[in-house]
Amino acid sequence: MLMEEQVLLPHLFRTEYRKMVSVLCHLFGIEHIEVAEDIVSETFLIATETWSIKGLPDNPVAWLYTVAKNKTRNYLKRTALFEQKLLPEIRYRTSEAEEMELVFSGRNIADSQLAMIFAVCHPAIPFESQVALALNLLCGFGAQEIADAFLTNKEVIYKRINRAKHKLKEEKIRIEHPLAAEVNGRLDTVLTTVYLLFSEGYYASSQNTVLRRELCEEAMRLIELLILNPDTNTPAVHALLALMCFHCSRFDARTGEHGEMILYADQDESRWDWSLVKKGTVHLNRAASGSVLTKYHLEAGIAYWHTLKADSLEKWGHILGLYNELLILEYSPIAALNRTFALAKVRGARIAIAEAEKLGLTDNHFYHSLLGNLYSGLDDGKALQHFEIAFDLANSPGDKGAISKNIRRLKAAGQTGGAGK
């Protein structure tokens, strides 16, 4: 029994904490966010104590909801807050009598979580704080876990979270289901935050791959919450989910035994997660409706073509075309570099080198890695120079590891070349 509960509690904490906090925040409003967190934390504390003595209840989730409900009721009775502030608010929203019964229904959980996503991903909150608060409140990550993911300490994360909460209160942001008319404008911000959250997991420099994978999965879960609601079930949301599925399918294959990065070209595709590729394809098809072409559509398309491992002119022609469109929509250095790589695959390294040298990204280590790649075989001396600059510019051990692999490969090729003379 003890073992069972040790496994179950952290799991329940991850899945239920965020639901209960969302429902309570939704009920109390943003000014009392800490009250909601306290009630839920105390509920889990009681669960830990009670379950270790009496064993697991028949339905642990229902048990948690009941305790939280009672604690909420007691809290409201106990404090003047209820009479003065919350009661009119609650009466305004729903008939008070049914309120407590409704609190943890599936429907209310889904609505509350959606309302919370829109509140937390509010453009008034600085990005770093947004992500920290999203991970904390929407995903149930502790401050220590968030700190580990961002290679920083708990205090920094607490600061970011508090800053975000402060901003939410200051701006009097309401935790409510956005009106259908607002959804479009605000959905963009939500997608940006969730996409950045995903990217933190996917590209972050933290070596903790388990944690990073969880970040990615949480981002996907948030997107799936959006898909479940008809108001936010848009083609762009499907495109973003497709993109995440395709990327995540390579999660295992892109890390070696010692945590080093394995580049796409060197990956063993039998280690790709083909169920995720399939799921991504389903969502990519669902994204192909409506008249708005977003960057998520283009990036999902690019990621889709990457799931076909074999090189072909067709594949790289499509990827090049998609990168062209993506850059026309929105410039980013990484898209510019990737476009040049695709150009090399379609039109050859020489043409791509000429284009690469116009990019003006000489302080970017990916730029020098790209040139190192393009010069390999054409002018190994130049290739080596570029890889060495890239090595100096790179910061993360993963990137440095991948670059030094290339340097070793070139040096080894140079030696065998010399011996053959």
Binding site: I328, L343, K358
Partner: protein, 115 residues
């Protein structure tokens, strides 16, 4: 960096218009690649749009005639805006326009900044 207007003039009105529809079709990919290359340098200010070949021309005294406007044989076929380090750079970019091969003429104009 200055902003430049890149105007692609081509023959839209005559019977054997240059480039021909087939040539235009063939130019789509190289054209997109040219624009993509400008965008990759972060020098694209406003991407080209597809303009129809219909058009109207408005003159004084409420005179409206069917367009597109062509005093000589070339009308405006495409317009985009870029950022460049002076005329040399802008011209170098304009030279990449693939429709030049089929008889288009590319006009490069620098935006004058007020000071």
């Amino acid at each position: 960096m200055n902003e430049f207007l890149i105007v692609i003039h081509r023959d839209l009105t005559s019977k054997d218009a240059k480039p021909s529809p087939e040539q235009m079709q063939a130019a789509i990919k190289p054209f997109q690649e040219w624009i993509g290359g400008i965008a990759a340098q972060n020098k694209l200010v406003a991407p080209p749009k597809r303009w129809d070949t219909d058009g109207r021309v408005v003159k004084a005294n409420n005179m409206v005639v069917n367009g597109p406007y062509a005093e000589i044989k070339e009308s405006i076929g495409g317009v985009l805006m870029i950022r460049a380090d002076g005329y040399d750079d802008a011209v170098e970019i304009a030279k990449g326009c693939p429709i030049l091969e089929w008889g288009a003429v590319v006009e490069v104009r620098m935006a004058v900044t007020a000071n």
